[in-house]
C-alpha cells in the first residue's frame, strides 16, 4: 500500500513538472483535496513560478513598447533641429557655415540611428509581423539595385548580375527582406574599391535559395565575422561618417524570422562575400 502510494505521488509530481516545463501548467487542473501534502506544496510552488513567468513576460513587453514609443517621439524634435539647422546654415558664411554643416551631419546620423532603433524595436516586440510569401526574387532585386543606383554611379561601380531568372522563387516577406538585403548591398557599394565590381548572384538549392553579394573591398577577417552582427559594431579601421552599425544586426534578425540566415565568407580572397539564404517553401503553412 505504501509503495503504490509513493509511486502514484511520483507520477503525479513528474506530470506536474512536465507541464510546468512546457509552459502548460494550470493550477486549477489539480484538485487539492486529492493530492498528498507533498503534491500540494509542489503544486503551489509551480503555480507561483508560472505566475511570475507571466509577469516577467508582461514587464518585458511593456519595456519594449516604451522603447518603441520613445524612439517614435524623438523623431519630431530631430526634424525640427534639422529644419532650423538648415535655415541657420544658409544664413552663415565661411568658417561658421562649416560648423553648421557639421552640425547637420550629426543630425543625419542621429536620424538614421533613431530610424534603425524604431525598426528594430518594432521587429522585436512583434508589433510588425514578418509574413513570408512565396514569390519571384528578381523584382525585389531589381528594385534594390535601383535604390543603390546613385551610390553606384557616383563611385563608378559596376553591378554584375548572375543567375537572375524570372522563374526563381523563394518564400520571403518582400518589405523586410528588401530592408535586410539592401543593408548588405549598401555596405558592398560603400566598401568596395572605386570603379570595381559588385556581383549579385542567385543560386538555387533543393530547399533554399541564396543571394550572394560579393564586393571587391578590403574584406572581413575571421575574427571580425561574429562581431559584425552585433549591435553598433563598426569595423575598427573604417572611419566612415555615414552608417551607425545596426544594419547587419537588423538584417540577421529579419532573416531569422523568415527561417533564413546570412552567411559571411572569408575564403574569397579579395573583398567580402555575404550570402542571404531564403527557404523555397513556406515552413508554416505547407
Amino acid at each position: 500500500m505504501g509503495l503504490r502510494f509513493r509511486k502514484n505521488t511520483y507520477e503525479t509530481l513528474n506530470m506536474m513538472l512536465d507541464e510546468a516545463t512546457s509552459g502548460n501548467f494550470q493550477e486549477s487542473d489539480y484538485d487539492e483535496s486529492e493530492l498528498s501534502k507533498l503534491e500540494v506544496k509542489w503544486k503551489r510552488f509551480l503555480g507561483a513560478s508560472a505566475l511570475s513567468r507571466q509577469n516577467v513576460e508582461k514587464e518585458k513587453k511593456a519595456v519594449k513598447e516604451l522603447v518603441s514609443d520613445i524612439s517614435h517621439q524623438v523623431k519630431t524634435p530631430i526634424s525640427n533641429i534639422r529644419l532650423y539647422g538648415e535655415i541657420i546654415e544658409e544664413k552663415l558664411e565661411g568658417e561658421d557655415k562649416e560648423l553648421a554643416k557639421r552640425l547637420m551631419a550629426q543630425t543625419d546620423l542621429l536620424e538614421s540611428l533613431i530610424q534603425s532603433l524604431v525598426k528594430m524595436s518594432r521587429l522585436e516586440t512583434n508589433i510588425i509581423q514578418v509574413s513570408p510569401q512565396k514569390q519571384p526574387l528578381k523584382p525585389m532585386l531589381e528594385e534594390l539595385v535601383l535604390r543603390g543606383k546613385e551610390k553606384q554611379v557616383k563611385r563608378g561601380i559596376q553591378i554584375v548580375k548572375k543567375g537572375w531568372t524570372d522563374e526563381c522563387q523563394a518564400c520571403f516577406d518582400r518589405k523586410w527582406t528588401s530592408e535586410a538585403v539592401y543593408n548588405i548591398l549598401d555596405n558592398a557599394l560603400k566598401y568596395t574599391e572605386e570603379k570595381s565590381c559588385v556581383t549579385v548572384a542567385i543560386r538555387e538549392y533543393p530547399m533554399f535559395v541564396s543571394i550572394c553579394i560579393q564586393d571587391e573591398g578590403p574584406g572581413i577577417t575571421e575574427e571580425e565575422i561574429p562581431k559584425i552582427f552585433q549591435r553598433f559594431y563598426r569595423g575598427s579601421q573604417f572611419q566612415e561618417k555615414e552608417g551607425v552599425g545596426l544594419g547587419l544586426y537588423l538584417a540577421r534578425e529579419i532573416l531569422k524570422k523568415e527561417h533564413g540566415y546570412i552567411k559571411v565568407s572569408t575564403t574569397n580572397q579579395t573583398g567580402a562575400s555575404f550570402a542571404v539564404y531564403l527557404p523555397r517553401e513556406n515552413f508554416q503553412n505547407c
Binding site: 512536465d18 512546457s22 574599391e193 538549392y205 533543393p206 530547399m207 533554399f208 541564396s210 578590403p218 574584406g219 577577417t221 575571421e222 575574427e223 571580425e224 561574429p226 562581431k227 575598427s236 579601421q237 531569422k256 527561417h259 533564413g260 540566415y261 552567411k263 559571411v264 565568407s265 572569408t266 575564403t267 580572397q269 579579395t270 539564404y277 527557404p279 517553401e281 515552413f283 508554416q284 505547407c286
Partner: protein, 258 residues
C-alpha cells in the same frame, strides 16, 4: 561565463614512451549555449577524438569535459550512458537510422527509450522546419541521402539535448544537398536555440558555422598562428594587402574564446 560545453586540458595519449601518439594534447575550449561551432582540422588532427571526448563516447587520458556544468567523466559507465542519451544528440556521416522503423519512430526513439513523454508539439515544429511532414510514415530505405540526414537531425533535436554533436554530417552527400543540410542545421540552431558542434575537414563547410575552432596536432591553433597562409597576408589582419591604407586591427579572439 561558463559555456554549455567546456573542456579543460583534454589529453588523449595512445601508447607510451617513444611511441606515444598524442591524439589530443591539452585542448581547452568553451562553447556557449545556442552557438553553432565548427571544429576544423585535417585528417589526424585530433578532431574526431575531440568529438568522442565531448560526447562521452571515450574517456580521456587526462582533463575534463563539462556538459551543462556536469563533469561527465566523474560518472560511472551506466550513468554516463544515460546522461549521454538525455543530454547529447548525435548526427553521423552515415545517418545511422533504424531501417525497420519509419521516420516518425526514428525521431522519437531516443526519447521513448528513456521512458519520457514525447513533446508532440515540438516534434511537429522540427519536422515542419526540416520539410519532413510528408515523409513521416516512410522507411529510411525509401528516402534519399539528404532526407535521411534530415531525419537524423530531427532525431538529434527531438530530445532537446544540451548539445548536438555532428561528425562530418555532409560527408555522404552531394554539394547541393550538403548546402541544404547545413542550412537546415543553421536555421534550426537559430530557431530552437540549439547548441551544435560540427566537425569537418572542409573549410567551406566550416564557414557555415558561427565560430570556427581549428585543431592541428591535437591542439587548438591560436589566433595569429597562420602556418599555411601565403606570404602576402598580413598576420594581424589575415587578408591580402590592398592599395588602400588599412589601420591595425586588434588581433584578439581568433579561433576560439577561452
Amino acid at each position: 561565463m561558463n559555456g554549455i560545453l567546456r573542456t579543460e586540458e583534454l589529453k588523449k595519449y595512445y601508447g607510451s614512451g617513444e611511441n606515444t601518439v598524442k591524439a589530443l594534447d591539452g585542448v581547452s575550449l568553451s562553447v556557449m549555449e545556442g552557438e553553432f561551432a565548427a571544429v576544423v582540422g585535417t585528417s589526424g588532427s585530433g578532431k574526431s577524438t575531440l568529438l568522442h571526448m565531448m560526447g562521452g563516447l571515450d574517456r580521456p587520458t587526462s582533463g575534463k569535459v563539462y556538459v551543462d556544468d556536469k563533469d561527465i567523466f566523474s560518472l560511472k559507465d551506466d550513468a554516463l550512458c544515460i546522461f549521454r542519451r538525455r543530454k547529447i544528440g548525435f548526427i553521423f556521416q552515415n545517418y545511422n537510422l533504424v531501417p525497420v522503423l519509419n521516420v516518425e519512430e526514428n525521431i522519437t526513439l531516443p526519447i521513448e527509450l528513456d521512458g519520457n513523454k514525447v513533446d508532440r508539439k515540438y516534434i511537429r515544429e522540427i519536422v515542419q522546419v526540416l520539410g519532413l511532414e510528408q515523409k513521416l510514415d516512410s522507411l529510411p530505405g525509401q528516402l534519399s541521402g539528404g532526407q535521411q540526414q534530415r531525419v537524423a537531425i530531427a532525431r538529434a533535436l527531438a530530445a532537446k539535448p544540451a548539445i548536438v554533436l555532428a561528425d562530418e554530417p555532409t560527408g555522404n552527400l552531394d554539394s547541393n544537398t550538403s548546402q541544404d543540410v547545413l542550412s537546415l542545421m543553421k536555421v534550426t540552431s537559430d530557431q530552437f536555440g540549439q547548441t551544435i558542434v560540427m566537425i569537418t575537414h572542409n573549410e567551406e563547410i566550416a564557414q557555415m558555422a558561427d565560430r570556427i575552432i581549428r585543431i592541428e596536432d591535437g591542439k587548438v591553433r591560436k589566433a595569429g598562428q597562420f602556418s599555411d597562409i601565403p606570404d602576402d597576408r598580413i598576420p594581424q589582419t589575415g587578408r591580402r594587402t590592398t592599395s588602400r591604407p588599412s589601420g591595425k586591427t586588434e588581433g584578439k579572439g581568433g579561433g576560439y574564446r577561452g
